[in-house]
């Protein structure tokens, strides 16, 4: 089941393009829209927006099931109660359109969904609304952890029919002081294990997704600043979506400005999707 946590904003409408597009590739071809109404949006406006979404869903052969519930407690807990349990449930939600003092995710419902165990969540920051949820060119930064690709795969499968290129990136991070004085030879030696790892990931990706020939490429970079390298590579390959896996281990307490995920969200030249797994 594909669920879309909709807040009724223009940013929510942008994120809905992703939700509808992924639903069109989901086996059920059904999108379950969940809106917890806290009164900030006039009922008439909400109805108009949902009708509009239903029309767009119909255009793509997707059935929209909307579930609008009044807020009882916290939006997050109300929302959580409405999500079907199980690994098959995928949730799509949005990051803030503009950074607050905390950043793009910190303090949002999306952050808590990403942190929640047992839910596969994708929180999207839409940088280019003109893509209408069809990014086609992907950047997949990996941290080298075992769950990296596993977290992203359920969503990548739904994107797969439209993927033109997918670029896997691994940033081998070293401390700034060391990086400034690292010789070229030592740098190359540090990258070798990462290359081997990426090669195996690439094989796995090809095996699991129906990707066109030549669609997968990879890069290993040595840097003292991983988020910045992600941004540079995203621009270089003209990526339209950075699909960043957030590990369950380091998610809590990390959604602040110094956090790499927040840095990518803040400065990305394209859309960013943060995904977390169901572990």
């Amino acid at each position: 089941m594909l669920c879309f946590a909709y807040d009724g904003s223009i940013n929510g409408d942008w994120v809905s393009h992703y939700a509808i597009h992924l639903a069109a590739h989901h086996g059920s071809r059904t999108l379950r829209l969940i809106h917890i109404s806290d009164g900030t949006l006039a009922p008439g406006d909400l109805r108009e927006r949902i009708a509009h979404l239903r029309e767009r869903c119909a255009g793509q052969g997707v059935v929209l099931q909307d579930e609008v519930r009044p807020r009882r407690g916290e939006v997050y807990t109300d929302l959580l109660a409405l999500l079907p349990p199980g690994d098959e449930t995928l949730v799509i939600c949005g990051a803030r359109a503009r950074a607050s003092n905390l950043g793009f995710l910190a303090g949002t419902v999306s952050e808590r969904l990403l942190e929640a165990r047992g839910i596969r969540t994708m929180a999207v920051r839409v940088m280019n609304p003109g893509l209408l949820g069809v990014p086609r060119r992907f950047l997949l930064p990996l941290a080298g952890t075992p769950e990296g690709l596993a977290t992203s795969l359920p969503f990548l499968r739904l994107f797969a029919p439209e993927i033109e290129t997918i670029h896997i990136l691994m940033v081998k991070e070293v401390r700034r002081a060391r990086f400034r004085h690292l010789t070229a030879a030592k740098g190359l030696a540090l990258l070798e294990p990462a290359r081997a790892y990426l090669h195996s990931v690439e094989q796995e990706l090809r095996a699991r997704l129906p990707l066109p020939a030549g669609a997968v490429d990879d890069t290993v970079v040595l840097s003292d600043d991983a988020p910045k390298e992600i941004l540079i590579v995203a621009n270089r390959i003209r990526s339209r979506l950075i699909l960043l896996g957030a590990s369950q281990r380091n998610l809590p307490d990390k959604f602040f400005f110094g956090n790499p995920i927040e840095q990518v969200l803040r400065n990305a030249p394209c859309d960013v999707a943060i995904v977390s797994g169901a572990a």
Binding site: S9, I10, N11, D13, H17, H21, A24, R49, H52, E55, R56, G59, Q60, A97, R98, M127, N128, P129, G130, L131, L132, V134, R136, E162, R180, H181, T183, A184, A185, L188, G214, D217, D218, T219, D225, K228, L231, I232, N235, R236, I237, R238, R240, N267, P269, C270
Partner: protein, 906 residues
């Protein structure tokens, strides 16, 4: 592809409103307010407001500045301990240098922020939108996604917007794409990527002609323009090799100084000296070891080097780029204007079928049609417009007659379409009505129905064999480096309806022939490319031109040798796009030297692949979207004449004349500077040993101190500064461009330099100055173990001769440092006037410290007998001679024979 799924450019105009949550009459006021509150204003975001403060602080606490501050602090401590000896003045001088260094670094880094200002100038202040059914002018910042934007001729586009209606709209996308050709837009759906779409009006670009209505879908940082702006700020300049080297050198020297200082402080404590005495020793040792003058000298030398480069049309924005130019392994260069003169001339008019030159009436008729298909404006200084169109009209004027009547009766013009790669004109005179079309042969070929007869006969059918022959003639012309333009026309019986689309007119065309257009190579380019080859610098041509044209120009320039097989070293942008980075690296290793039909975005891919190969890369660029690649390159080189402000801000080096040969001049200067830096480092370090040895001896033996802190500083920051700068200004040697680029790991301070300066020259100088010091003491009646205070006249005389002899021996060192294996005199002493000045200063001060009363007061020195001063003069041939002997032995040892020494370039 699902007809309902796709990006905004892929959908039909009538669906755009629904997808962007708006309507044809525009947004309501409440919707605008809500979206503005949610998305923010349509403005490029700036980085943190106090970022400049962070940059300044970082510059103030870098190792360079801290070291200078420490030296200044030592001076102030010394002043407190020995008042009235001018230490405070030196302290202030050091602080001044430290501040200057910090300010200079700050300005360099802060400049990146200014690139943002340059970008902002591309955006308009006010725009016209339709809201609630009314057309109204609003601030561009108040624009929100979903607004219906009304665009007209002359407008700058404030945000990314999808066209839903347009009438003959032509835009200039140069600020975004670097492509100067006007781009006609359409409101229809297209099946291309977003950035290549012809139905999107992009922020920062300008409407040249026509008008249209477009729905805004991205504002501020979300626009394509905004992402470039954001990235230009984000990309960090990599640490230059020189920065890394000087940082390392200062760190190593300071670590040695501090360690030795602490060691002797501890030793002093153990043997029971007073704390203050130990402190003086420690400070003395640190001051003696740290080459305080090295950094200001280095900065000054680089500054002078940058001035010298500016005289050769290479404007260097950051001092480190001066040396980085010399480290280049690869230069990726543009073609138009850099390798060529950017002056188009029509040199061939050819019957496309037979490949023969057109002549007589056939030639005049051809030119007439070519003028109809061109768009120029007449001005006081002649015709202006696209250089190709101007070249065509000029040729018509020269060979046929005044083009004005033709131009006046050309009723419609269809601007050059980058995607279709053709342009056209519709002539409706009294004599005839004709539609003429010119463009790339590949784009005309499907439209050609017949071939004209240059002899004046009726057109013949376009049989496949005939088209193949034309194809071969096109390739033949392109292989000579010519840009090939095909020409075709269609006679019309009556003027078409106004607004008839170009596609309707482009049917049943009669092919007329081919034009060969040449952009002559700059005359100095082949020699410059040959110089690069000789210096093991790889030159790579990156151009948007056809592969044949690019390859031909590369051959004429010498980038490709005559023996290289065609196509073997050339890659197109399409191939490049499809390659993985590892594959690209492999192809580059195989020897790809020409990238044709590339886009500015692909430059970044080339730069990064080359950098991954461990090469130092220079990249030229002129457009806004070149900015990220210019920043990513080790040396970004912007064009001064035709470059945009954004490219110039992003680059480290600006070519004032856009000429490739100037890059090579810069490389020569850069290489010379690195070599000179090694020379003066060697020179400066040598005097540290005679400065430190007296402290070690004083600590271990019951003898007077031969040199005090102020005397050390008088050499470090006084007499040695000008000679060191003089070595920094040595002219380039004749073999500068015959050597390979220096290794990326090459050290400014390596073991041979340390061994030579410290263990050879330094020890020689220490031995001689100490010998003279004790000689004066013994002559004056001192015997081993006698206590002698620093103010004792005998000690002052001893100190004077020790100091004077170090200064004189540095003359021998100075001359010897000029050449690796030669005498240094053979390069011509007066050729570098700063050397003469340096020698004069050393001589003057060596005399002054002994015989000038004011110098006695400041330095604590005293006079000696002139015969002893004469002995100090023997220090010059002593150092020079032994060093030259070392060079000859070294040379003999390395080559087994005596070889001619390197000469300075004429």
């Amino acid at each position: 592809m699902n007809a309902n799924a796709g990006q905004i450019q892929n959908v039909q105009p009538e669906r755009v409103f629904a997808l962007l949550h708006t309507r044809p009459e525009g947004l309501r006021a409440a919707e605008v307010a809500a979206r503005l509150a949610e998305i923010g204003p349509n403005a490029l975001a700036t980085r943190a407001r106090h970022r400049w403060l962070a940059i300044l602080v970082r510059q103030c606490i870098n190792f360079f500045s801290l070291l200078l501050d420490l030296s200044a602090a030592i001076c102030f401590v010394a002043e407190a301990m020995q008042p009235g000896e001018g230490m405070a003045m030196l302290g202030w001088a050091l602080l001044g240098v430290s501040v200057l260094n910090a300010v200079f670094g700050f300005l360099q880094e802060y400049r990146a922020e200014r690139a943002m200002e340059a970008l902002r100038r591309f955006l308009p202040q006010r725009v016209t939108v339709r809201r609630e059914g009314r057309d109204q002018e609003v601030l561009a910042e108040a624009l929100v996604p979903g607004d219906l934007l009304l665009l007209a001729e002359g407008n700058r586009i404030p945000a990314d917007a999808r066209l839903v209606a347009c009438t003959e709209m032509v835009v200039n996308n140069a600020p975004l794409t670097g492509e100067a050709k006007p781009q006609p837009l359409t409101a229809n759906a297209v099946q291309t990527g977003l950035t290549e779409s012809l139905n999107i009006a992009f922020a920062g670009c300008a409407v040249l002609k026509g008008n249209g209505e477009a729905v805004v879908f991205a504002t501020g940082d979300r626009t394509e323009f905004g992402t470039i702006a954001s990235l230009s700020q984000d990309i960090r300049r990599t640490v230059s090799p020189l920065e890394r080297e000087t940082n390392r050198m200062v760190r190593v020297l300071s670590a040695i100084a501090v360690c030795v200082g602490i060691l002797f402080f501890a030793y002093g404590v153990v043997i029971g000296n007073s704390l203050w005495m130990n402190l003086v020793w420690m400070l003395g040792i640190i001051v003696a070891f740290v080459p305080e003058g090295l950094l200001p000298t280095l900065t000054f030398s680089l500054a002078i080097g940058s001035l010298r480069m500016a005289r050769r049309n290479v404007l260097v924005k950051g001092l480190n780029a001066v040396e980085a130019m010399g480290a280049l392994h690869v230069i990726c260069t543009d073609k138009t204007g850099t390798l060529t003169l950017n002056r188009l001339a029509v040199t061939h008019l050819v019957d496309g079928l037979r490949g023969e030159p057109l002549a007589g009436t056939g030639r005049a008729g051809f030119l007439r049609l070519a003028v109809i298909a061109s768009e120029v404006r007449a001005g006081a200084a002649g015709f202006t417009g696209d250089p190709l169109d101007v070249a065509v009209v000029d040729l018509y004027a020269a060979e046929v007659g005044a083009p004005e009547p033709l131009l006046a009766n050309t009723r419609r013009h269809f601007a050059f379409d980058v995607r279709k790669r053709r342009e056209a004109g519709l002539y409706a005179g009294e004599d005839e009505i004709v539609f003429a079309l010119k463009g790339a042969w590949e784009s005309l070929r499907p439209l050609v129905a017949a071939l004209s007869d240059p002899g004046g006969g009726p057109p013949v059918g376009a049989e496949p064999e005939a088209l193949e022959r034309i194809e071969r003639n096109v390739a033949e012309l392109a292989s000579h480096g010519l840009r090939v333009i095909a020409l075709a026309h269609r006679p019309l019986a009556a003027p078409p309806e106004p607004g008839t689309p170009q596609e309707t007119l482009e049917q049943g065309l009669v092919f007329d022939g081919l034009m060969g257009i040449e952009d002559p190579l700059r005359p100095e380019v082949p020699a410059a490319v040959a110089a690069c080859r000789g210096a093991d610098i790889r030159v790579i041509l990156v151009t948007g031109d056809h592969p044949d044209t690019a390859e031909a120009v590369a051959r004429r320039a010498g980038i490709l040798g005559a023996e290289e097989a065609p196509g073997r070293h050339t890659m197109t942008g399409r191939e490049l796009e499809a390659l993985r980075e590892a594959e690209l690296i492999e192809r580059l290793r195989d020897g790809i030297l020409v990238f044709a039909r590339t886009t500015p975005e692909q430059k970044m891919k080339i730069v990064l692949a080359l950098k991954r190969m461990g090469l130092v890369v220079g990249m030229t660029g002129d457009g806004v979207n070149d900015a990220p690649a210019l920043k990513a390159a080790d040396v970004g080189i912007a064009m001064g004449l035709r470059g945009t402000d954004v490219a110039r801000e992003a680059a480290q080096v600006i070519l004032l004349d856009d000429n490739f040969a100037s890059i090579v001049n810069g490389v020569v200067e850069g290489r010379t500077i690195f070599r000179n830096l090694r020379k003066f480092t060697d020179y400066v370090l040598a005097h540290n040993v005679p400065e430190i040895v007296p402290y070690l001896v004083y600590l271990v033996f019951p003898v007077p101190l031969a040199i005090n802190i102020i005397q050390i500083l008088s050499i470090d920051l006084g007499t040695d500064i000008v000679p060191a700068i003089a070595l920094g200004q040595e002219p380039h040697e004749a073999d500068t461009m015959r050597r390979p680029p220096r290794e990326i790991e090459a050290r400014l301070l390596d073991w041979p330099v340390v061994a030579h300066s410290y263990l050879f020259l330094g020890l020689l100088e220490a031995a001689y100055s100490q010998a003279l010091f004790y000689f004066v003491l013994v002559l004056g009646g001192w015997s081993y173990g006698d206590p002698l205070g620093p103010t004792d006249p005998l000690n002052r005389s001893g100190m004077g001769i020790a100091l004077s002899s170090i200064m004189l021996m540095q003359i021998g060192n100075l001359v010897g440092r000029r050449s690796q294996y030669g005498t240094g005199i053979d390069l011509g002493l007066i050729r570098n006037r700063l050397i003469v000045l340096g020698v004069a200063l050393e001589v003057f001060f060596s005399w002054a410290v002994l015989y000038l009363p004011s110098a006695h007061r400041v330095l604590g020195t005293g006079p000696v007998d002139p015969s002893i001063y004469a002995l100090a003069w023997l220090g010059i041939p002593y150092i020079f001679g032994l060093d030259y002997l070392r060079k000859r032995v070294l040379l003999w040892h390395r080559t087994g024979r005596v070889v001619p020494v390197v000469q300075a370039a004429p």
